[in-house]
């Protein structure tokens, strides 16, 4: 049970942030997110270990989460926050399937190297 003073204290930072512009501008958040996204995509495209690729995909998705949260915060809109939860859930499902596929790959090749996936090249 929250007492009125505690409620006021909890509400105060939010009201404060909405009232005045945060110290760090939006473009900084976007720059960090895009750098993270670039790191992730380079990891997917250049690294050959399947587990590293999976982690890189997670970095990309989290970079996108950061973009959503930054935009949501600066527009004082809840939609972005909600989407983030959906993205986290979907990323978990995707990781589960990805790890299962890595297991399957390991059974056949005794390695998790994507370079060795050449059975289908003509």
């Amino acid at each position: 049970m929250l007492t009125p003073p505690l409620l006021a204290a909890a509400a105060a930072p939010a009201a404060h942030a909405a009232a005045q512009q945060p110290a760090i501008p939006l473009s900084w958040y976007l720059a960090v997110a895009l750098i993270l996204f670039a790191i992730g995509s380079i990891g997917v495209l250049a690294r050959r270990n399947a587990l590293t690729v999976l982690m890189s995909v997670e970095i990309m998705l989290n970079a996108v989460n950061l973009v959503f949260l930054a935009f949501a915060r600066f527009q004082a809109d809840m939609t972005g926050h909600v989407i983030t939860f959906f993205v986290i859930a979907v990323a978990a499902a995707e990781a589960a399937v990805g790890l299962a596929l890595v297991m399957g790959l390991f059974r056949h090749k005794k390695a998790v190297n994507l370079d060795q996936m050449s059975a289908l090249r003509s």
């Binding site: 995509s41 997917v44 399947a50 527009q75 972005g80 989407i83 596929l101 790959l105």
Partner: protein
Amino acid sequence: MQAATTTSDLAIISPLFIVCAMGLVALLVAVFTPKDSFKGWLGYVVAFGFALALVAVVWLWKQAPLTLSNESLFFALSVDHFGLGLTAVILIGGLLAALTAVDYLPSQRSDHGEYYALVAFAVLGMMAMVMSADMLTFFVALELMSISVYVLAGFKRQSAFSTEAAMKYFVTGSFASALLLLGIAFTYGATGSIRFTEIAEALASPQASLPIAQFGVVMLLAAFFFKVAAAPFHMWTPDVYEGAPTSVTALMATGVKVAAFGGFARMFLTAFGDARFRTGDLPWETIIAIVAVASMFAGNLMALAQKNLKRMLAYSAIAHTGYIMLAMLAAPTSGDGTVWLGPGLIFYLLGYTLASIAAFGVASVVSGNDVEDVNEVAYAGLAKRSPAHALILAVAMLSLLGIPLTAGFIGKLTIFAEVLDGSHNEYLWIVVVAVINSIISAFYYLRVILVAYMRDEAAERPIQLVSSRSLTLAAGLAAFLTLVVGLVPSRALMASGKAGGSLADSKARAASTATVNDVHTEADAPATASAPKATKL
């Protein structure tokens, strides 16, 4: 509109419910059936579910456009003719694809009941995708479809080919999902909304941040090209189509493609469809024109060199992506910025779905008992061994090629006519390119027929047929419908025209949040305007 308000929300989304319920039933039953028993009957159960959902779609079609009274559903799903029409195409494809698997999976030693549950969930994702009215629904639906199909592609666990195909599809697919999300994030940042109609409104206002929206649209386009296997992003397609079990490839070539085209066409035309953007500030139409040409050439030229039937069909799928993209180029626009589609896109997708199921069905038949490759030798002399299957294959190839009297021909004709009409001959060059490409494609489609009819069966490797009634029925039905739609196209064309025209409703629909009663008269005008176009052909 009166009928719409009396239909309850539960009835309106009943097709989604039926398919979801069938998936859950299949999943539960699969757990409790003995390991070595025949699981094919679950395929019939799921196919029955798809048929039931199809009936519900037809019932809803008569009352569309429907309005969901629950607010969050109203903003998430638009159950209009466009969504329902594409849902019908997806359900037909899913039904036939589920039937092809019944006896094919045991022949590949991977008869597990979960297969049918995954097919149902993938189809559920596809259906939600073409009905989605906001970015979040769109994303979740796309992921539901994609994740199910990743698993399906690797369903033949003991095969290195299948596992490899699934891994490749997973890596490229999740990369594309990340690009899609980044696109959604930046569109959201530029407009402050994730609903298609509100994005359109926000972009039209002068204070919208166009550079941010441009970046978002480019990312969305990249994801779109990945999902439909368009030219610079098509590298995964041949490997995945070849390695996945053939019944899964059939679903990938039809359902996934229909859903991706339907969903993205709605997104681009509703959210970014303003004529100022299409070739101006957000030049997605120009990009699509270039990619369409690249896809046609990449697909057709590479297909010429293929000896493997599945791999050849994969390249042909890339080429068909190019043709279908043309339909998005010339979306008619009225003075107040309302955009809709002609019948071309949906009709072509229907014809393509039927012909692909027939072709992949025959590919499953000749892939024999646990044979991985379907090279020319696998079906040489098929006409003498099994005339019915050879005929189905021939009809499928002729329809994919676009020979008159088949659905493929009418589809190509409709799209080309639409592009010329809609762009006032500005896109004449692209139609010429498409016709040249159709001529190139004749070489490899006709070669398949030649091999099946003129060559003799190789003595050292006789044809190994999977004897299956359901498989032959599904492929035969698909081939038969290809001919029916090709011979009597008027009804399908009318329906496609109505479906495409209903995209124009979305604008009225957005306005209807305040005044529900005005929608009917506004919404019907563009739909009827496009109807004469359909009958003209």
